[in-house]
C-alpha cells in the first residue's frame, strides 16, 4: 500500500501536467505550439531507429568520450594540485579564471584549432566540463582529515596505497559532486557544439527542424533532449549511489548517533 502511494506521488503531477498539455493544446491552431498529439506522432515518425543511429548515437559517443577524458584529466590534475600547496597557490587564480569563462564561447576558439570535425566537439566538451571536476577534486583532496593522514603515515601507508586507499576515498564524495556538475555542462556543450557546425547530431537536427519550420519535429527533439538529460542524470545517480554506498552508510550512522 505504501509503495502504491509512493508511486502515486511520483507520477501524479507529471500525469496531470501531461494530460493538461494534451487536452489544452488539442484544439491549438497556433503554428508554434501544435497539439501534443501532433508532437507525439512526430516523435514516433522522426526518431526512428535509423535516425537514432545516425544522429543520437554520434552525439552520445562524443559526449561519452569528452566526459570520460575530462574526468581523467580533472581527477589526475586535481590530485596533483591538491597535494602540493605551492602548486595550488600558483595555479588557483589561473584555474578560477578558466572556470569563469562561459564554456560555449570556447566553441569558436576550438573551431580555429580543430576544424569542425568530431575532434572539435570532444575538445569543447573536455575543455568545458573539466573545471568543476578539477576544482572539486582539489578541494576534496585538500579536505582529507589530517588525523587520518597522520595515522596512515604512522602505519607506514605511503605511495600508491596512500593515494588509492586514503586520499581518493576521502575526496570521492566531493569528486562525485564535481562529476555531477560536469555532466550537465557536457550535455549542454554537446548540443551547442553541434548547433555551430555539424552535419549530424542532436543539436544539428533540432536546429535544422527549427530553421525549416518543422515545428512538431522540433518540439519532439526538445522532448528527446529532456528525456536524455533525465536518463543520464538517473544513470549518474545510480552509479554514484553504488560507488559511494560506504559514504551514505557512514552518514546515516552518524545521523542516528547524533
Amino acid at each position: 500500500m505504501a509503495v502504491l502511494k509512493r508511486i502515486g506521488f511520483v507520477v501524479a503531477l507529471p500525469l496531470v501536467l501531461f494530460a493538461g498539455w494534451f487536452f489544452l493544446s488539442s484544439g491549438s491552431e497556433s503554428f508554434y505550439s501544435p497539439p501534443l498529439r501532433t508532437i507525439l506522432t512526430a516523435f514516433g515518425d522522426t526518431w526512428t531507429l535509423d535516425r537514432l543511429r545516425a544522429d543520437v548515437a554520434p552525439s552520445l559517443l562524443r559526449l561519452l568520450a569528452g566526459y570520460l577524458l575530462a574526468a581523467l584529466i580533472g581527477v589526475g590534475l586535481g590530485v596533483a594540485i591538491g597535494l602540493n600547496r605551492r602548486l595550488r597557490a600558483t595555479l588557483e587564480p589561473v584555474l578560477e579564471f578558466f572556470r569563469a569563462i562561459p564554456p560555449p564561447v570556447l566553441v569558436p576558439v576550438i573551431m580555429l584549432f580543430a576544424g569542425i570535425g568530431d575532434g572539435m566537439k570532444v575538445i569543447v566538451i573536455v575543455f568545458g566540463c573539466v573545471w568543476p571536476i578539477l576544482l572539486n577534486t582539489v578541494e576534496g583532496v585538500r579536505a582529507t582529515d589530517s588525523v587520518v593522514l597522520d595515522t596512515a603515515r604512522a602505519y607506514g601507508v605511503t605511495g600508491t596505497a596512500r593515494l588509492t586507499r586514503v586520499i581518493l576515498p576521502s575526496a570521492s564524495p566531493q569528486i562525485a559532486a564535481g562529476l555531477r556538475q560536469a555532466l550537465s555542462i557536457a550535455i549542454i556543450l554537446m548540443v551547442i557544439s553541434e548547433m555551430f557546425a555539424s552535419s549530424n547530431g542532436l543539436g544539428f537536427t533540432i536546429v535544422q527542424f527549427q530553421r525549416s519550420f518543422a515545428i512538431p519535429e522540433m518540439w519532439s527533439g526538445i522532448i528527446l533532449l529532456g528525456l536524455l538529460g533525465f536518463a543520464l542524470s538517473l544513470l549518474f545517480r545510480l552509479a554514484e549511489r553504488w560507488a559511494l554506498r560506504w559514504y551514505e552508510g557512514l552518514r546515516a550512522a552518524q545521523r542516528r548517533a547524533g
Binding site: 589561473v94 579564471f97 569563469a100 569563462i101 562561459p102 564561447v105 569558436p108 555551430f196 515545428i215 529532456g226
Partner: protein, 261 residues
C-alpha cells in the same frame, strides 16, 4: 612553517598568472602554434584596448549585464517563492519531487530553438534561457534549506502560537537564508553563462554576439580579447557574490566558523 617558506599565496598566484601570460606570448612567437589561431598576449591586449575604446563594446557589455541581472532577479524571486511554498507543504513537496527532478536536467540549450521562434533575436530569448537555467539552482537550494529547519525550533514556535507568517519570518527564513545565498551564487554564474551562450548562438545583442561576429570576420585577436572579458566578468561576479554572502550572513554559524579558523 612560516609563510615565507611556504611562499606567499598571493605572490604565487600572481606568478601563476604572469607565467600563463608569458607562455601564451611565447608559444605563438616561437612558432609552436600558428599565430593566426593564437595571437601572442600583447596582440590580444592591444585588441582589448581597441575594443574598450569603442561604443559598441560598452553597449554590448551593458546588454549582457542587463539580460543577466533581469533574468537572475526573476529566477531568484520565483525560485525563492516557489521553494518556500513547496518546501513548507509536505504534500506539495512529494507531489512535485519527480517533476522537479525531471525538468531540472533538461539542458537549457534545448530551449534555444523555441526561444528563437517565440522572441527572435530579441532580449526575450536570452531572458527565457537565463531564467529557466537559474530558476532550478535557486529552487533546489531553497528546498534543501526548508528541509533543514530544526524540528525543535519549529515545535517551539508552534507552542508559542507564532502565526503562520511569524513562523516563516523567524524560523523558516533564517534557516533557509544560507541555502538561498548558495542558490543565488550558483544561479549568478549560470545566468552569465546562459546570457552569453544565448547571444552567441541566437545572435541576441551582447558580448556573445560580438564574439560570434569577431569569429566570423576572422578578427582572432578581438575574439580572444572578448573571451577574456567574459572570463573576467565571471570572476568579478563570483567574487562579489562571495563577499556579499559573507557580509550578509555574518551572523550565521557557517560564516562565523569560517572566519575564526
Amino acid at each position: 612553517m612560516t609563510s615565507a617558506r611556504r611562499g606567499n599565496p598571493v605572490l604565487l598566484g600572481f606568478a601563476g598568472l604572469a607565467g600563463l601570460l608569458l607562455i601564451l606570448e611565447l608559444v605563438p612567437r616561437l612558432g609552436l602554434v600558428n599565430e593566426r589561431f593564437l595571437p601572442p598576449t600583447s596582440r590580444i591586449a592591444a585588441a582589448l584596448a581597441d575594443e574598450v575604446g569603442t561604443a559598441v563594446f560598452w553597449q554590448s557589455l551593458g546588454d549582457t549585464l542587463y539580460a543577466w541581472a533581469v533574468g537572475l532577479l526573476i529566477a531568484v524571486v520565483a525560485g525563492v517563492v516557489a521553494g518556500l511554498v513547496i518546501g513548507s507543504v509536505p504534500v506539495l513537496r512529494e507531489l512535485t519531487a519527480s517533476t522537479v527532478e525531471f525538468l531540472r536536467p533538461i539542458p537549457s540549450v534545448a530551449l534555444i530553438p523555441l526561444a528563437v521562434l517565440l522572441y527572435g533575436t530579441e532580449l526575450g530569448s536570452t531572458l527565457l534561457l537565463v531564467c529557466y537555467a537559474s530558476f532550478w539552482q535557486v529552487l533546489v537550494q531553497v528546498l534543501y534549506g526548508v528541509a533543514d529547519v530544526d524540528p525543535v525550533a519549529e515545535e517551539t514556535a508552534r507552542s508559542y502560537r507564532f502565526s503562520a507568517w511569524g513562523r516563516v519570518r523567524y524560523v523558516l527564513w533564517p534557516t533557509a537564508l544560507p541555502y538561498v545565498f548558495t542558490g543565488f551564487r550558483l544561479a549568478a554564474s549560470v545566468a552569465l553563462v546562459l546570457a552569453i551562450t544565448a547571444e552567441l548562438v541566437i545572435g541576441a545583442p551582447g558580448l556573445g554576439k560580438e564574439i560570434a561576429t569577431a569569429q566570423a570576420s576572422d578578427a582572432v585577436a578581438t575574439m580572444y580579447a572578448l573571451i577574456v572579458v567574459t572570463g573576467a566578468l565571471g570572476v568579478v561576479i563570483n567574487l562579489l557574490t562571495r563577499t556579499g554572502e559573507r557580509r550578509l550572513l555574518a551572523w550565521h554559524q557557517s560564516v562565523r566558523g569560517e572566519v575564526s579558523l
